[in-house]
Assembly symmetry: C2
């Protein structure tokens, strides 16, 4: 490719302006075409993937890669079919664009509409699974955004063929709506272009997301860490508490919404902890605890480092707290504002915990593992945000939209509404969809 | 003050957690108390303000300050009363917090609520008008946010007394909910604290806002520039076009929503421009034009610099374009994504312009000067955003909120909804307000 990254991103910017006005039917048809092309092109995709896998297996033999990475990288006919179906399911989602979010009459024949529109150019940097490229491209297209795609180098052959398949299948869309970049220098160049790129969505380790945040002026949507807590209150149903605490750690420990620290009210520690610890041990969980925990059960000591560690594995720290306030304070101090859960039968205590916690998701009597776009019913998940600005928690397609104000008038001047003889505004909300020029029709 | 900025911001963070749970009645009562205290303390406030004004007048004599700055700085009994009334009007706004934005049943007795909550700690850096401090503090309090206030050094005496008045009047609120910082080094320290400060709102020149954006990892809400356009289409009512173009420039040229470049369709340039130029000249507007404009009217030549300049004064550049597409392209290339307006009687052309323009506000047959939170009916205006993330265009109190997901269950585990025997989710939207623990009441 002889184009510079700047030329590519400038082309993406032009494409974004045109893509914003491609209607839902055409975007959905393009998504169907992508799904079909992935099926039709499966031989070439799988051949490219074999090259990636062979290279990764060499790295595995040299101890550079893990077996898990090689497994995630590997495609087969079944996985390709799932990818094609995922693209079709994105097409089936409600159109996130064009909705009139508010309509307000400012004065007679002066009508303001707030309408959902795409953000523009979204830069994405993601991990080694080749299905990530297709998923991100599909979500961007559905929401009318031009997208810059940078995948992991382990998947470069697969990504290139998948990208070419997508571009060829969407020849009717504005050229440049999807752009693959491959070199690290191109990422650095991308991160500099805060005048052309509207949002960056990194996926990967928390170190990686932090690195991106520290190296760009572009707004970043992502989550850095998931240090989640389950608090077992003195008024908990202890059988429920045991099940929730077990599910939150053991059901899938590698993910960001798994629990990392169990907080137990002092009043129930003696009754709750021995059985819980036995159950965790049986599942292979390594446990550490503070002094009060170790008075009740025999576990290794926890240090201050433990409280802020995302183990991402079958490891857990335990702390005994005096009351719900200490639990809230601990979670707010050491948590990552991702997901926190209380188990209690006392509604007032639940309210104290839920309103006191500063996190994207706060649960009452449910496992932290529910914090997920699919489980929340958001449809396709764009990502999870631990930031508070724009989108928080699991983010659906809505997170890839912004809004635009359209004002329809018939020649109104601000001078009429200013000064001593100022006309008042009516500021009346009404139900209505923006229809350009409808005032002149009447 | 012996506290470091970090200690102050840490205190603000604690205050924010508590302030988030202060109910609307208490926040509104605190706002009333602020209004009363400003009235009661007017002698001390005006005395401090006299010191600022005297110092500013010395700088004026030395040619360092403008008369306009001195005028903006100056308070009197009448202005103080307006400030007190402004605080009362903020109290009268609808509560931006606690609203259930969405409620969804995930399964029986498993209910997800998306609820509006404060952002947390907001850092604000603003210009010399002392009423800015009071307005920003009032908006932050109304929306439950702790606020760090840094005003212009010209207003330091006024700001200090106003700040003390506010803090004394709100002794029942969590200590540290409002913090005044005064030194430039404190601003630099604040901008470093991206782990403690959730949002920065700078007000001031576009250079100043850009400086802040370039020097912090904290999300910034602000507007850098207002390079706005009015496009006079070939299908325009030319009398309306003349009035709109005149209002957009002359009614108040110093503000960001004033027009800077007039785009005129080639087909109407001969008819429209001579009269328009005469009208502008009569109002003292300095004009520049491209070659095609200068074929019709005698104005100075415009350079490429003119197209991207926010004059903020009685100056205007004029360009003749072939069609609406060239108008859209020019505005998207040189505009600042703030506000653009088309004057036309043709609905299709209006649609092409309005959907093709990438700006926060796009108007049809109305002056660009309508782009303003008050005129839009947003109530109190927090600021205007030219960014696309979180809030766009004029921003009301809603821009100082985010949301939190509350999940109410009765012990649900993700294991139940995963694997071969996975239960399905119901994902049914319903009308309802979050009420903690209501499932256990039933």
């Amino acid at each position: 490719m002889t184009e510079t990254t700047e030329q590519q991103v400038t082309a993406a910017q032009s494409a974004a302006l045109r893509l914003a006005n491609v209607d839902a039917a055409e975007r959905d048809a393009a998504l169907s075409a992508i799904a079909d092309a992935i099926r039709d092109n499966s031989d070439a995709i799988l051949a490219a993937n074999e090259e990636d896998v062979a290279a990764a297996e060499e790295m595995l033999a040299e101890g550079e890669y893990t077996q898990a990475l090689v497994d995630r990288l590997k495609l087969d006919e079944g996985k390709l079919e799932s990818i094609a179906e995922m693209v079709e399911s994105v097409a089936e989602q409600d159109d996130p664009l064009g909705e009139t979010l508010a309509a307000r009459e400012l004065d007679e024949d002066l009508e303001l509409y707030k309408v959902a529109v795409p953000i523009g150019v979204v830069g994405t940097i993601f991990e080694s699974r080749p299905d990530a490229l297709v998923q991100i491209a599909a979500l961007a297209l559905k929401s009318g955004n031009a997208v810059i795609l940078k995948g992991g180098s382990e998947a470069s052959e697969s990504n290139r063929v998948l990208y070419e398949t997508i571009v060829e299948a969407t020849g009717d869309l504005p050229v440049g709506w999807a752009t693959l970049i491959e070199a690290h220098e191109e990422v650095d160049a991308l991160l500099e272009m805060d005048d052309k790129v509207d949002l960056v969505m990194p996926r990967g380790s928390s170190e990686f997301v932090s690195y991106i945040q520290d190296n760009t002026q572009i707004p970043v949507l992502g989550h850095t860490e998931g240090v989640c807590h389950v608090y077992v209150d003195e008024a908990a149903d202890l059988e429920m508490a045991g099940d929730v605490a077990f599910d939150a750690k053991v059901q899938y420990p590698a993910v960001c919404n798994a629990v990392e620290t169990l907080l137990v009210n002092d009043a129930v520690a003696d009754e709750f902890l021995p059985e819980m610890v036995a159950r965790y041990r049986e599942a292979g969980v390594t446990l550490r605890g503070d002094a009060a925990t170790r008075d009740v059960v025999d576990v290794d000591p926890a240090t201050d480092d433990d409280w802020e560690t995302e183990y991402g594995d079958l490891e857990l720290s335990i702390k005994v707290v005096d009351d719900v306030y200490e639990a809230v304070d601990h979670a707010n101090t050491f948590g990552s504002k991702h997901t926190e859960s209380i188990v209690t039968e006392d509604a007032d205590t639940a309210e104290t915990f839920m309103t006191g916690i500063d996190a994207a998701s706060v649960f009452h009597n449910a496992s932290t593992r529910f914090a997920d776009g699919y489980r929340y019913g958001l449809g396709a998940e764009v990502g999870i945000s631990t930031g508070k600005i724009h989108a928080r928690g699991p983010v659906g397609l809505e997170g890839l939209t912004t809004y635009k104000y359209y004002l329809e008038g018939d020649g109104q001047l601000v001078a009429t509404y200013a000064g001593d003889d100022a006309l008042p505004f009516t500021h009346r909300e009404f139900d209505g969809e923006w229809r350009p020029g409808h005032l002149s029709d009447e």
